[in-house]
């Protein structure tokens, strides 16, 4: 029932495809107004339990608070760059909350909020984007791969890790996050194909936010659905409303359960929208109309759950404010730490290239240390950067 049933005719020469993309009913539990859908998904009771739903709501609010604060920090120059996940909070929350501690997450540059929701300290989570190191958290301790920038290249890593866990007999699942644009890369194809051949316990979650920087989905694929690619791999393909966190949790839960049980990989396409420009450096007005953004602001994943929780009496103004406070506190703490200039040490440049540095690296390290010492002495740090201005 979560399997994709694709009207083949609709996949060819259908100009309206992109426009009607949202409406060719992806699976969902709640409609965009927060009301359960007739004949929609039927999640298990545990998922609909009050505290579970509230945990989801708090995660959504936290993701929103994280993203809002990070956006402010980058504007003020405290981060090198920031790709916002505004509008994709349901995917961010579901990606973090659907996993067991032993499961591995393979995030992209856009998934910093999911890292925070997995429990990683925001300073560690934002280290890459702050520019003080490439990865700030202990990837092994957190079972979370470094955020990946070369598109789709993390997909085969997720497959390899899942295959390794399967070989070791461990009940570990790998969740690989990808964007819609990344599905055009060869690595995506090779990873999906080998995952299916190996029946590796991996789940591919494509956050289809409709854009790859400026390139809209219709220039990325001629198919009506990205989930349809599952067919070619002999892998279930699921198309779900990416702004319905309950539907996402249900679909991810099914896929993870299947993977953990030896049922192999699943491809999930979550239909959502990138509310902000690609990054703070991007100018979205060059390629899309604000009316489109407005349309999607009306499909906000946070509001949607709030409306539902309110309707079923789980949420009132008081609790909502309290949860908002949590987010505000979290954001304030983030700012407190990230507004400070990070400590960096050039010795770091040499200590991890190899398990033990080559003679050549030792020599280069000595040169840098001498320069640093000299700069210290002359108290003219800048001189050491001459010509880099």
């Amino acid at each position: 029932m979560t399997l994709l049933d694709l009207p083949l005719a609709a996949t060819r020469g259908n100009p309206a495809a992109a426009a009607s993309y949202w409406d060719t009913d992806p699976l969902r539990y709640l409609d965009e107004h927060g009301a359960p859908v007739e004949g929609g998904l039927r999640p298990a009771p545990e998922l609909l339990a009050t505290d579970r739903l509230l945990a989801l709501y708090r995660a959504l609010r936290l993701a929103r608070a994280f993203d809002t604060e990070a956006t402010a920090l980058v504007m003020q120059g405290h981060l090198a760059v920031y790709p916002s996940s505004r509008g994709q909070e349901a995917c961010q929350a579901a990606a973090a909350l659907c996993l067991e501690p032993q499961d591995w997450l393979f995030p992209t540059y856009r998934d910093t909020a999911a890292l925070a929701l997995r429990g990683i300290d925001p300073v560690e989570a934002l280290t890459l984007l702050r520019g003080s190191w490439h990865c700030g958290y202990d990837a092994k301790r957190w079972r979370t791969a470094p955020q990946c920038t070369p598109l789709a290249t993390q997909a085969p890593h997720a497959v390899g890790l899942a295959l390794a866990a399967k070989m070791a007999g461990d009940p570990v699942v790998a969740l690989c996050l990808l964007g819609d644009g990344a599905t055009s890369e060869g690595d995506f194809h090779e990873a999906c194909n080998s995952a299916a051949v190996y029946q590796a316990p991996v789940v591919f979650l494509v956050q289809n936010n409709q854009y790859a920087i400026s390139v809209p989905l219709r220039k990325q694929t001629h198919a009506l659905s990205l989930a349809g690619k599952g067919v070619g791999y002999g892998m279930p393909g699921v198309r779900v409303d990416g702004n319905d966190v309950i539907g996402l949790m249900h679909v991810l839960g099914e896929a993870i359960e299947r993977a953990r049980g030896g049922g192999g990989p699943t491809l999930i396409e979550a239909i959502t929208y990138r509310i902000r420009p690609h990054t703070n450096a991007d100018d979205a007005n060059r390629y899309r109309d604000t009316s489109e953004v407005d349309l999607w602001l009306g499909r906000d994943p946070v509001d949607r759950l709030a409306r539902y929780l309110t309707a079923i009496g789980h949420l009132d103004a008081g609790l909502d404010a309290a949860i908002g406070e949590e987010g505000a506190k979290y954001a304030a703490a983030m700012r407190e730490q990230l507004a400070r200039e990070p400590e960096v040490d050039p010795a770091d440049l040499f200590d991890h290239v190899f398990a033990s540095p080559t003679p050549q690296l030792r020599a280069q390290r000595a040169m840098i240390e001498a320069e640093a010492a000299a700069a210290q002495r002359d108290g003219q740090q800048d001189a050491a950067h001459g010509g880099q201005a």
């Binding site: 790859a212 920087i213 050549q360 001189a383």
Partner: protein
């Protein structure tokens, strides 16, 4: 035999070997102070005007005009069939260009950042560089791959690589990198007009550097280095992003009483032995500067050539001031990696007192 269906007597498809219309193209413009980025944009526009076989494509090049705006306005002006966005897949971007060149087009493709050209490596090494040779000239590859390269812009991982050594070691491809506004325009026009594939490394840190550009401009054929400053004591050899570093070093060195010559290679392949060796024969000393890791970097080739061919003239070892042999550092640490004026000055001191 009657089973044969193909007839060789067809009109030939538009020929890629037909030389492109003479460069430079249209009416002389009045002098203008422009950025290096704008000069590249102008070169693309003029090349597209001069030759309808020139098409520009890549990621985000159409509506957005490229993340660095180098293709700004081309889609609007020439239409989306002349400048278009591709699906997000670099191997197929280059592979598509190869197929279009087979049919007679002259594609100019953009790789968004240096590290994002790596997925196209197989297409580059196994096809782009070999197709003309493989077919004894029947299928030339007049293709330009534009790659913004180098660091110093505060970019996070994968946004500051310098991959020129990989390409320069691959026979069959020309490798060019401009350092001035004039060369940016002229060398890109020349690259597009070239009958052979060119990897065109754009010094992204210099995109916003400005100078006067008066069209038409001619700065010298592909394969020739430029002497940016003449000097008697030592030759600084740089290209792309390190040319300003070399020039600034020469200024400081002058204060110390050293008269340095500064070469801007411009073309790594073909390599201008004549200019480089003549300079070192004059000065007797040489220092090579580039951002890429030093080990097995392009500077090794330069140093090896000079050391071999100027053996009896050299008064000091040829030194290399390059990036460290480490993965490119994060923004907060990259200044330790990049060849700084101070480091080059130390090398000058070393060479002059050797």
């Amino acid at each position: 035999m009657s089973v044969v269906t193909a007839s060789p007597s067809l009109p030939a498809t538009p020929s890629a070997s037909t030389p492109a219309p003479a460069v430079p193209a249209p009416a002389p413009a009045k002098p203008a102070t422009v950025t290096l980025a704008k000069a590249l944009n102008q070169a693309l526009a003029d090349a597209m005007t001069a030759d309808e076989r020139v098409v520009v494509f890549g990621e985000d090049v159409a509506e957005l005009g490229g993340v660095f705006r180098i293709t700004d306005g081309l889609a609007a002006r020439f239409g989306e069939s002349r400048c278009f966005d591709t699906p997000l897949a670099e191997a197929s971007i280059l592979g598509t260009a190869i197929g279009m060149a087979m049919y007679g087009y002259r594609p100019v493709v953009e790789m968004q950042f240096d590290a994002f050209a790596y997925p196209a490596f197989e297409q580059l090494v196994s096809h782009l560089s070999k197709m003309r040779n493989r077919t004894r000239g029947a299928l030339p590859m007049p293709i330009v791959i534009r790659i913004p390269y180098g660091g110093g812009i505060g970019g996070v991982e994968h946004h500051s690589d310098s991959s020129e050594a990989y390409i320069a070691h691959t026979p069959g491809i020309h490798v060019i990198t401009p350092a001035t506004v004039q060369d940016a325009y002229w060398l890109l026009r020349s690259a597009i007009a070239s009958p052979d594939p060119v990897v065109f490394f754009e010094p992204k840190r210099l995109y916003w550097s400005k100078a006067q550009l008066t069209l038409p401009v001619t700065t010298g054929p592909i394969g020739t280095a430029a002497i940016r400053r003449t000097g008697r004591d030592l030759t600084l050899i740089a290209y792309g992003q390190t040319v300003p570093v070399a020039l600034e070093t020469a200024e400081h060195a002058a204060e110390l009483g050293y008269d340095l010559e500064v070469l801007d290679l411009r073309s790594l392949v073909p390599f201008d032995d004549a200019t480089v060796l003549a300079s070192v024969e004059r000065t007797g000393r040489a220092i090579v500067i580039h951002e890429a890791a030093g080990f097995a970097g392009f500077g090794a080739e330069i140093a090896a050539r000079i050391s071999e061919r100027c053996f009896y003239r050299l008064e000091a070892p040829v030194l290399r001031v390059t990036g460290l042999d480490i993965p490119y550092p994060p923004p907060k640490l990259e200044h330790w990696h990049l060849p700084s004026v101070d480091r080059v000055l130390d090398a000058v001191e070393h060479a002059m007192t050797a």
